[in-house]
């Protein structure tokens, strides 16, 4: 696992915020993450839907395959201080193109586009203002881990407490917070003072 020990997330350049007006007139924020992967959409699709592959990089465990519309799947948040299991029904599954389901209250909308020999992967997910920079940093790291997995060099998923252990975590979430114009989260407590 020497690769994992050497891993450091790069600059905060994977996520942006899309701001829309909801029907109630309130501003609605969506976190948009884009990652260019040097692997085919078919291969990326497997990593997004197959529970054994999700286990290698995603922040949740799935108890079934997410690749079919109507599939009912339980998602367990990994590393949370108490068990958090949410059930979802897959609402869209166009293999190697598009995938939609919910993680708790979050909409999860994935798009896969052929991009040269690889795939441009986009995730749209609605996450509250307060936690959006942490969400961006978390997914940023997950996508790096996904990239290694697809390259045949899995380094094991880095989520929850493992993600916070990286010295770079406060830097990454603070960079995103600055870009999004939100307060830098004080998590882990006093991280910004270290």
């Amino acid at each position: 696992m020497i690769e994992r020990e050497r891993y450091a997330p790069g600059p905060a350049n994977v996520a942006r915020v899309q701001k829309d007006r909801g029907q109630d007139g309130k501003e609605k924020w969506t976190l948009v993450l884009v990652k260019e992967l040097r692997h085919s959409p078919e291969k990326v699709w497997q990593a997004l839907t197959n529970p054994a592959q999700l286990r290698e990089w995603a922040p949740f465990d799935a108890d079934g395959n997410l690749g079919t519309v109507g599939a009912k799947v339980k998602l367990t948040t990994v590393g949370a201080p108490a068990p958090r299991v949410t059930e979802t029904i897959v609402t869209r599954a166009d293999p190697a193109k598009a995938l939609e389901y919910k993680w708790g209250n979050f909409d999860m909308r994935w798009q896969l586009e052929a991009f040269g020999d690889g795939t441009r992967l986009t995730l749209w997910t609605n996450i509250g203002h307060r936690f959006i920079s942490m969400g961006a940093a978390g997914w940023h790291i997950c996508f790096d881990v996904l990239d290694r997995l697809l390259a045949g060099q899995p380094m094991g998923r880095i989520v929850g407490p493992d993600a916070l252990k990286f010295g770079d975590w406060p830097r990454l979430s603070a960079e995103y917070a600055k870009q999004f114009g939100v307060e830098v989260p004080n998590w882990p407590p006093d991280a910004t003072k270290r």
Binding site: R84, F106, R130, M134
Partner: protein, 130 residues
């Protein structure tokens, strides 16, 4: 070992945060989320480093059943101590909270019971002084 934290189950964490801070007057202490999980605590401004109260989502059937059963039996899910129960009662009532029991003398204390809007009764207690 120390007792630094206690928990109540709530059926809506955002609503709970509003009630426990804006209505009861506590202050938010820790708030972080990991995916759909959210760790949320409040603490008394009189004791910022004192015991924290975790507002835990009742997201499993055992928690829901427990919460509803004790509510139906008029049992408080948590109890807070005050030195001025009459003043607190007026202040909290003025902010729109619904009391199921006004300050009432019982053995060794005066108690009142208020709904927390998230599925619980909360008891306020002022110990009698002799």
């Amino acid at each position: 070992m120390k007792i630094k934290l206690s928990s109540v189950y709530v059926n809506d964490q955002e609503k709970a945060l509003r009630f426990y801070t804006e209505v009861l007057g506590f202050a938010k202490k820790t708030d972080f989320s990991q995916g759909p999980y959210r760790w949320l605590t409040v603490t008394s401004p009189e004791e910022p480093n004192g015991t924290e109260l975790q507002l835990a989502l009742n997201n499993n059937s055992a928690a829901k059943t427990y919460q509803q059963a004790i509510f139906q039996q008029n049992q408080p899910a948590a109890m807070f101590l005050t030195d001025d129960i009459k003043g607190d009662y007026e202040r909290i009532k003025a902010r729109g909270a619904e009391f199921t029991m006004p300050p009432t003398d019982v053995t060794a204390s005066t108690i009142a019971m208020v709904k927390d809007t998230c599925g619980n009764l909360i008891q306020l207690t002022q110990l009698a002084r002799w």
